[in-house]
């Protein structure tokens, strides 16, 4: 199936999505990759608040290239989600609605996806120039010193991706 989805996604929307569905996301997503996830984990350990509301949020595993003048972002394709596996379950348990990346997720992440009725999206790896066209705005949120690994709030329009792991735990790579 093919869906145009307005973010944030409600539970009904998440439940109807199936692994392999083609989706176009419109709304707000947050960038975070390795170093930012480590920081989020450290904040959680210390009992401090996250720098953005993770409830119903979508995290995009990406570290874009610097924007050229007049562009919101540079090239911005997905990085390997597998590396964020150690951190994803706790974010999902804290209310995260989904993640966008490439590659496989661990069993622990898939279990957390099912438990929290979340979605793991996959975007085309190495298509950063194309994907950047759907990103209309980028606003810094936290950890700017991490450069491309900082957390940035992106406004996306019809951002193309696939449902990778659905709320039942089905996986696009096992189709």
């Amino acid at each position: 199936m093919k869906y145009n989805i307005k973010l944030p996604m409600d539970l009904e929307t998440r439940k109807k999505l199936r692994a392999g569905d083609e989706v176009y996301l419109t709304g707000i997503i947050y960038t975070a990759r390795d170093a930012a996830h480590k920081r989020l984990h450290e904040l959680r350990e210390k009992g401090e608040p996250y720098p953005f509301d993770v409830k119903d949020a979508i995290v995009y595993y990406v570290g874009p290239t610097p924007p050229k003048p007049g562009h919101a972002v540079g090239s911005a394709g997905p990085t390997t989600a597998t590396r964020m596996d150690p951190y994803a379950p706790e974010l999902l348990d804290d209310g995260l609605a989904g993640m966008i990346g490439k590659g496989r997720r661990s069993k622990e992440v898939v279990d957390a996806i099912i438990r929290n009725q979340a979605i793991n999206f996959v975007a085309v790896g190495g298509a950063g120039a194309l994907l950047s066209q759907s990103i209309k705005k980028a606003e810094p949120v936290a950890f700017e010193e991490l450069l491309s690994e900082a957390i940035v709030r992106l406004t996306v329009e019809d951002f193309p991706c696939f449902v990778g792991v659905d709320t039942l735990g089905n996986d696009i790579y096992d189709e």
Partner: protein, 281 residues
């Protein structure tokens, strides 16, 4: 003796880093188009179409094909009649890479210390540099911008002589299968066979510098490359891991004499964004 000012190398490297980040080589584009025509699954075809569309946008807007603009690896083949002038060659190489990444709006992806600090050096340097001394008075410089989604899936193994051709085949195919969707297939796969533990990994990387329209000049190795490509494309990994026939675009093998007791083998996985350039000064 021929004097070569290192600033020439610096400038050429700057331009090369900028160019390879935004433009696929012609042979990769051809291979992606061929894959797109041959795929039968709609989703796999669509993924390849997105890569081709991505290539057009990157080239038109001169923005990076992929946001992981890689770590720079530089090979210098210096003629022994050459005298480098104008300061340190190593520093010039790193200045050239840093300038290319800065001026090309490319991502700084290098951290200073791998284990403890992991602080971004902000310049995408240092580059990994290999130097060879060769006869003559020319300098050949090759640069590759290697993405790490695929680098992380690379492997080295000390096979034994008894493992032979079958052992090499199994090792290579297992590596490709395990790399799966994480390495951004379709991949280009560099294989090093022989030498020592370390040199065999360098060979695997060097194999990726060969244009994918070219095969190993030794007929037996050429055949092995073809066989492995066919087998890899039957693994059903497919573009982006969405299944299909286009898992690898080319297998490139480099070989070197080895010890009577050994058969080192290394597999360096590269994604479709197999970026490298060669210049002769």
């Amino acid at each position: 003796m021929r004097d070569v000012d290192v600033s020439i190398i610096e400038n050429k490297l700057r331009e090369a880093c900028m160019a390879i980040a935004v433009e696929y080589s012609h042979d990769i584009i051809c291979a992606l188009k061929k894959g797109e025509q041959e795929e039968t699954r709609e989703k796999s075809k669509a993924a390849l179409r997105m890569l081709l569309e991505n290539a057009e946008i990157a080239s038109r807007e001169q923005i990076a094909i992929c946001q992981d603009t890689g770590m720079a690896i530089v090979w210098v083949k210096a003629g022994q009649e050459v005298h480098f002038t104008g300061g340190s060659l190593m520093e010039a190489i790193n200045r050239g890479v840093a300038a290319g990444y800065h001026d090309g709006y490319l991502r700084a992806s290098v951290v200073d210390d791998p284990l403890f600090d992991r602080k971004n050096t902000k310049t995408n340097t240092p580059a990994v540099v290999y130097c060879d001394i060769v006869p003559g008075d020319e300098v050949e410089v090759e640069v590759m911008a290697k993405g790490f989604g695929s680098e992380n899936k690379s492997k080295t193994k000390m096979l034994t002589p008894a493992d032979g051709v079958e052992g090499v085949k199994k090792f290579v195919l297992d590596a490709i299968r395990e790399a799966g969707p994480n390495a951004c297939p379709p991949m280009v796969v560099g294989v090093g066979v022989g030498g020592t533990f370390d040199s065999c990994a360098v060979m695997a990387k060097k194999a990726l510098l060969r244009p994918i329209s070219q095969s190993n000049p030794d007929e037996r190795y050429r055949q092995l490359e073809d066989e492995l490509l066919e087998a890899a494309n039957q693994l059903n990994v497919g573009p982006m891991g969405l299944h299909g026939k286009t898992t690898a675009l080319k297998i490139q093998i480099e070989q070197f004499p080895t010890h009577i007791a050994g058969l080192p083998c290394a597999v360096n996985i590269c994604c479709h964004v197999c970026r490298h350039a060669r210049m002769v000064i």
